[in-house]
Amino acid sequence: MSQPAEPETGTPSAPKTGRGKLIAIVVAVLVLVAVGAAAVYYLTQPPGPTGTIKVGFTISLTGRYNVEGTNSRNGIMTAANWINSHGGIKAQGTVYNISLVFYDDQSIPGNVNTLYPQIVEQDKAQFLLAPYSTLLTGTAAPIADNYDRVMLSHGGAADTIWTQTTRRNLVEVLSPASVYLKGAVEWIHTNHAADKIAVLHESDPFSTLAADSAISYAQSLGLNVVYNQSYPTGATDLSPQLNAAMAAGADDLLGGGHFNDGLLIMNQLKTIWTPKFVSLLVAVTEPSFQAQLQATANNVTGPSQWESAVAYGPTLAQSLGLPWYGPTPTEFTQLYGSLNAGASPSYHSAEAGGALLVLAQAIGRANSLNTTDVRAALGNMHIMNFFGQFQIAASGLQIAHSMIVVQWQAGALKIVYPADVAQASVQYPYTGS
Amino acid sequence: MSRTLEASEIHKYFGGVKAVQGVSLTLETGRIMGLIGPNGSGKSTLLNVLAGIEKPTKGTVTVDGRRVDGWPAHRMVGLGVAKTHQIPKPFLAMTCRENVAVAMMYGSRREGEPASALEESLRILATVGLERRADAPASNLTVQERKRLEFARVLATGAGLVLLDEIFAGLSPDELRDTIALFARVQKEQGFGALVVEHVMRAVMTLSDHVVVIEEGRKIAEGSPKEVVENPAVIEAYLGSEATNVTP
């Protein structure tokens, strides 16, 4: 800082000491100001890069996916809380804490395009999580490749992202849409192979993929699919479709889409048809499914990525010869409750939290923050955490995480398939009361 | 630009209502024909058919021998047959000059250049005495000025045959005198033919070379203005039967 220039001429020279005191005061003030500014700057600046790993993402807090998006964000924050309070991440001899930076993308692809570059360039995020939903994940994926950042998908389940496009840095943590109804089809095949199947699904990408894959899988197992129909989002009346399915002689009903149309199907089944077995996407795992339908919900099954009661844990991992990392499902549920006013985590919260844990473990195993090393670590990692198994194919598609099938039995949601995590056996047939 | 328009046996029915029943007439450039008749006699409907706004139920319309019945209004204007509106319909959001310029550019003159069209419109506005209001928006005009704007616009289309729908209605005696003189002067200058649909007898009688009278959609008399006025059928149609025995 240059000395304040003293006006030489024109002013009557104050007594010598007076001028010296004046300069001293000015300098003192300047120094004080400088120290203050530095302190303020330092405090607001997050701790030096060595101590923090920045993970960035956009999530839908408004718009079409606001419910699932908010749950996902809460799950990620819970996982970050756990990691930071359990020794953080050790890499290259330094302990890192995770700091999250995220924005609301309003469920609009256009916003994903502007926010991820901002997260990488301006907020300097080193690792990325994908947004919620198939479409937004598909939009975000090329950005991750372009900025060479690893991106973990927790809310985009359509296989088409990995089958139709090659995204080097995009890794899928949750099970792809194509396997959602696989458990239900397997169960029907082993227990009631003679049943004829009807598929009625919403026309959005996720439900279409889940339904189409279920049909081809069922046919490959020799099951007879007698009815297959899709309906547009927001349909008011599905009774004709259910009526046609019954008329086609179907025994079981698979499909649905999201929460509201799942409820519509259940409500209209009451007066039209009582299939022997029902398995609906998404709706069944929502707590308010049973609250709304009361007895009609009994014996209805549905696929789920995760349930808080699932018996994943260090013991099961050991029996499968897999390393375990992170909280157990119950620990995650308790921590989530404490951070979110007692709410219980939906499977969207679990898949998002699980993704962050997988990332943390991969960084630890790669012992480096470099994208290629971490992506390689993810490539040859087969581990288990509270969300389930994690192992990906070369393309990044998830191949080890298995879905679980849940069923409402006498007002309670039980895990019924696969056997190694089941709490109860499948109740058959569905009686509708 | 001489034009002859021949309408033969024109019928126009709206559902049960037979507005025009078999009227024939011929318009030529340079000749002014009056069309009179009591209210609801089908004058405006006939005008709309000739101008292409309505399609005739029966009968044909030809211009210079070419069949045009059923042509839409904008194509008729292209042929030089244009009509004014009984209730003026100016383009309110545009100035008078722009109103006339539209007619210049889209009428049969096909003036392509907006700048020269605006130039020329000033001249036409002057002929109808509206040059002072050239740049005022049409919404500010009085009813009488709006009628003049209608007249200016139909002239600006460069039409050879002009169909005027009660252009002299609602004028005070001296306004009427000026407008008749103005019309006669402009007609002599530009030599267009006209079909003047009117109730104002003084205008029809002084301007028309030939007058046609229709009642309930049928032609009941035709001839020079003088002959028509004395024709008993016409008097009866207008003044009711007792009046016929009172000699004028």
Partner: protein
């Protein structure tokens, strides 16, 4: 060719759906017939009616059929507010609606739709909600029909009949019909056009919100701020199909649309049937702008 029994069932459900479609469109038909304007925010008021029924059920335990009259009363006030807020300036002292004011009301009501639907999203979040009320079903021959939908269908036809009686038998009703045909003539008969137009609009909004309450019976958990964008086009198609301004047009249009969707899906699948149902609007407008009814 699906079995006859299946077709009959589809037709039955089509009729039930058609009635509820008719009542949600009837309010639009009234306003369109009376004030000759198109209320683009119509769908949003259906949504408000549905939420009205939801909250009445949530806090007071009233079932949707009983909350329909309450919604209707609220709708009257909303309608009067809408008239003086949006229509009065455009219609006052005019013999017919000018091309310019049609534009103004179209854009203004579009803004209103944006405003209310997003305000509702902000207040009530995007979660789908519903009314857990299902009174079981009855058997008619081999048909098992949901009682809820049946009650709603009856209520819908009743509402449409009531408005028809009101418009044709009462003094005020006739004044409204006179106003819709010839505004200057009504003035000559000493009727205050503003009052009549306001009442007509209020009636329209009242029926719309009551319709929203009845529609909620069909949506076990389908009430959400965005539902207006789905039911507005449905209402427009119904009114055009039935003929704007025709009292029984709403019923004819509603049932036609619902039958095309419900029966059509048996032949061409749901998606195509829905597309066809919406596209019928265009040929109708081309060849019979006054609707199917003579």
């Amino acid at each position: 060719m699906p079995a006859l029994e299946v077709l009959v069932t589809d037709l039955a459900f089509g009729l039930l759906l058609g009635c509820v479609f008719a009542v949600i469109a009837h309010g639009l038909n009234l306003i369109w017939g009376v004030a000759k304007i198109v209320n683009v925010a119509h769908g949003v008021f259906i949504m408000l009616g549905a939420y009205g029924a939801y909250f009445l059920n949530l806090y007071l335990g009233i079932n949707p059929l009983l909350s329909a009259p309450v919604d209707a009363a609220i709708g009257l006030a909303v309608g009067v507010g809408f008239y003086f807020g949006f229509l009065h300036r455009e219609l006052r002292g005019k013999e017919s609606i000018a091309q310019q004011s049609e534009m103004v009301t179209l854009v203004a009501t579009f803004g209103l739709a944006l405003f209310i639907s997003n305000l509702a999203l902000r207040l009530w979040t995007g979660n789908f909600v519903g009314i857990p009320w299902s009174p079981g079903s009855i058997f008619v021959g081999f048909l098992q029909l949901p009682l809820g939908a049946l009650y709603v269908a009856i209520a819908s036809v009743a509402i449409i009949a009531l408005t028809h009686i009101f418009l044709s038998r009462t003094y005020l009703g006739n004044a409204i019909r006179a106003y819709s045909q010839d505004i200057p003539a009504t003035q000559l008969m000493g009727i205050n056009p503003t009052f009549v137009a306001a009442v007509g609009t209020a009636l329209g909004f009242s029926v719309t919100m009551a319709g929203g309450a009845l529609l909620s019976v069909w949506l076990p958990v389908g009430i959400n701020p965005g539902m207006g964008a789905l039911y507005a086009p449905i209402s427009f198609v119904i009114v055009v199909l039935g003929g704007p301004g025709k009292m029984w047009g709403s019923l004819v249009g509603g049932i036609s649309l619902a039958v095309i969707i419900d029966v059509g899906q048996a032949f061409v699948g749901t998606s195509l049937a829905t597309a066809i149902a919406f596209l019928t609007l265009i040929p109708i407008l081309l060849f019979r702008p006054e609707g199917i009814l003579r």
